[in-house]
């Protein structure tokens, strides 16, 4: 392993994986730690994953063989979760995450089947240089900012900027915006949110029926 032969796009790819994995480990195991300790431990773990070789590769390189480069969105989402852990779970933050999940969930349902050959149209192709795709994401980012959804707006802007400066190996904008992990996070989150809403609605209706039933049955 010769770090002097590391290309910029290899460094960003390995770094993205190391940061995301470290942040997830800290989120999982460091619930009781203070914010500064979480950041120091997370940074140290990320450094180990990139810099310490196991055989001919750093540990992050083995993961990269399976995962590919993570999208900028995945890295931002994980880091924002790390930053928010222990903080107040406000309604606004939940709405912000929900907006991100709705947007990414819709993209995942359209992009993956068509890009993998479900039809003649390939939306992935638009990611190389389409002004329409960039314009659409510009509208999404501005709308997210206007409606105070900073996580969605920030993820989109960070992904677009990383694509603009060729931060990863990929030349395709989609790879900076979404990957299967964040797609799974979005779709799983939406499914969970839907189940909670349905259960709450059913319980609410049962509660109303329970309350109204005996009253209706009372003899006049």
């Amino acid at each position: 392993m010769n770090l002097f032969q590391l290309r910029l796009t290899d460094a960003t790819g390995l770094g993205g994986i190391a940061v995301a994995v470290s942040a997830l480990l800290v989120i999982g195991f460091g619930r009781a730690w203070s914010r500064s300790v979480r950041w120091w431990v997370g940074g140290g773990l990320a450094g180990l994953l990139v810099l310490v070789p196991i055989g001919s590769l750093p540990a992050a390189g083995y993961l990269r063989g399976f995962t590919g480069d993570l999208s900028v969105t995945t890295v931002v989402v994980v880091l924002s979760a790390l930053a928010a852990r222990g903080g107040a779970r406000s309604e606004r933050r939940r709405s912000d995450r929900l907006a991100l999940k709705v947007c990414l969930g819709a993209v995942a349902l359209l992009l993956y089947p068509l890009a993998l050959g479900a039809g003649p149209f390939d939306p992935y192709r638009l990611g190389y240089d389409s002004p329409w795709l960039l314009g659409a994401w510009w509208v999404v980012a501005l709308a997210a900012w206007f409606f105070r959804r900073p996580l969605l707006a920030g993820c989109v802007a960070a992904a677009v900027l990383a694509w603009a400066v060729r931060g990863y190996e990929s030349t395709n904008l989609w790879d900076y915006l979404i990957d299967p992990f964040v797609a799974l996070y979005a779709l799983g989150g939406l499914l969970g949110w839907s189940v909670v809403r349905v259960v709450a609605a059913v319980r609410g209706r049962e509660g109303r029926e329970t309350r109204s039933g005996p009253i209706a049955a009372q003899p006049s």
Binding site: L57, L116, G119, R125, A141, R148
Partner: protein
């Protein structure tokens, strides 16, 4: 609806959004200008008499050799690339290369130019195995070698990598990964050779075989960056496209048929606008039992193709010519034909005898030993008996007008066939 408040964070976020999209619009929004195909110069047609000879590129025992790709070098020699190892997909498989000297009429020693270990080190990620090389010459005269690597699973987990050589294959750049799909970059493979556009970009025919089976064209800029890709087909029936460029705007592509076996025919698509649009896949009126093919455009505009002509297997390999752009074909010569009633499930003694006879007929210099025969037996045997396979051809026409065809010979060796236009014309004259 609540309007955004003008807090400092909100203003900074808006500035970030504007800056990111402005940089992207300036740096990346450069739509590709229309470019024409670069047609290959027909070159002279030597006035010599018919010429046809065969030999083995590689007859190394105890390894499987497969998926060859050939290119002409600057000095007129031929360089072949293929993969070999104990068996297809094994971790000891390497990408090999060797050079054929047409004056001396023999192949030089082979050497490995890509291994899983080297690819892993150059790509900075885990690599389990390597496979399918495809070679071509870029507009700047460098050689471009594409090959696949797999980190997890079988061939459907393949990703494509590119290497460049500025000295005709003696030294190579580090491998670079090409990202072609949004789903873990899985399942893009190459087989057919790349071709050039008039603007200096290169197009590589590739195929996907994860959820769908379809062909695509990758368009690569001078720095090997992927700048566009186009679908040649969709669905679950087309693999391993080859593109035959017939003019600046016109090309015909053929795809291996990998769909339902009641329609085992080669697939054909065409373009009249330099690849911006392709016709829907249609039958090319040639049998194709899920096997790869190779082809080129002859100087007079006819198409020449090498394909498996046997029904349902790879026991016969033939040359066919089409005068109408690939709609109708004439089979002009059977390069190999073991497609008789006993083409499969042969007993060992009979198989060994036929292999020994065919090997000696293919290359008079090859020593057919027990080791040689055991190598072929190991690869072509099954509980049902032994069978033959002649497959995965690669075909080029040199600037001097000679044709070089190399293909997998019973999975063990690579056979090289050299012929000229006079020989081909003589075969055409024999066909009614």
């Amino acid at each position: 609806m609540s309007a955004p408040r003008g807090g400092r964070r909100s203003t900074l976020l808006l500035c970030f959004i504007v800056a990111a999209f402005t940089v992207a619009a300036i740096a990346r929004l450069r739509p590709l200008p229309p470019a024409a195909f670069t047609t290959v110069s027909a070159g002279p047609t030597p006035g010599a008499g018919p010429r046809f000879r065969t030999d083995f590129v590689s007859a190394r025992p105890s390894v499987q050799s497969h998926a060859v790709s050939v290119v002409e070098l600057g000095d007129g020699r031929i360089r072949a690339f293929w993969y070999s190892g104990t068996e297809e997909g094994a971790v000891d498989v390497t990408i090999q290369t060797a050079v054929f000297d047409p004056v001396a009429g023999r192949w030089g020693p082979e050497r490995a130019i890509a291994t899983p270990e080297a690819a892993q080190s150059e790509l900075w990620r885990y690599v389990k195995k390597v496979g399918n090389p495809s070679v071509g010459r870029a507009a700047d005269d460098s050689l471009k070698l594409f090959y696949v690597t797999v980190s997890v699973g079988g061939w459907s987990g393949s990703s494509i990598n590119a290497m460049t050589s500025h000295d005709d294959g003696y030294t190579w750049s580090r491998a670079e990964r090409i990202i072609t799909t949004p789903f873990f970059n899985l399942s893009t493979l190459a087989k057919g050779p790349p071709f050039n556009y008039s603007d200096g970009t290169l197009s590589l025919p590739v195929y996907e075989e994860f959820m769908g089976k379809f062909g695509e064209l990758l368009r690569l800029g001078p720095d090997d960056r992927l700048i566009d890709k186009t679908r040649l087909s969709f669905g679950r029936s087309g693999l391993q496209p080859i593109v035959l460029v017939q003019g600046p705007e016109r090309a015909t592509a053929f795809l291996r048929h990998s769909g339902p076996h009641d329609a085992d025919q080669l697939l054909r698509v065409e373009t009249d606008d330099a690849g911006r649009h392709w016709s829907p896949p249609a039958s090319a009126s040639l049998p194709n039992a899920d096997t790869a093919m190779a082809g080129l455009v002859l100087p007079d505009g006819r198409l020449l193709i090498a394909f498996n002509s046997s029904a349902g297997n790879r026991t016969a390999l033939s040359l066919a010519v089409s005068a109408d752009g690939g709609y109708h074909w004439k089979v002009v010569y059977a390069l190999e034909d073991q497609s008789g009633p006993q083409s499969e499930g042969l007993d060992r003694a009979h198989f060994r005898a036929v292999v020994a006879r065919l090997a000696r007929a293919s290359d008079a210099t090859v020593q057919v030993t027990d080791t040689t025969l055991a190598s072929v037996e190991r690869l072509m045997g099954s509980p049902q008996g032994y069978s033959f396979e002649f497959s995965y051809p690669s075909l080029i026409r040199t600037r001097g007008g000679e044709f070089h065809l190399v293909y997998t010979w019973n999975r063990a060796f690579l056979k090289h066939v050299e012929f000229n236009q006079a020989w081909l014309d003589a075969r055409l004259a024999e066909v009614p």
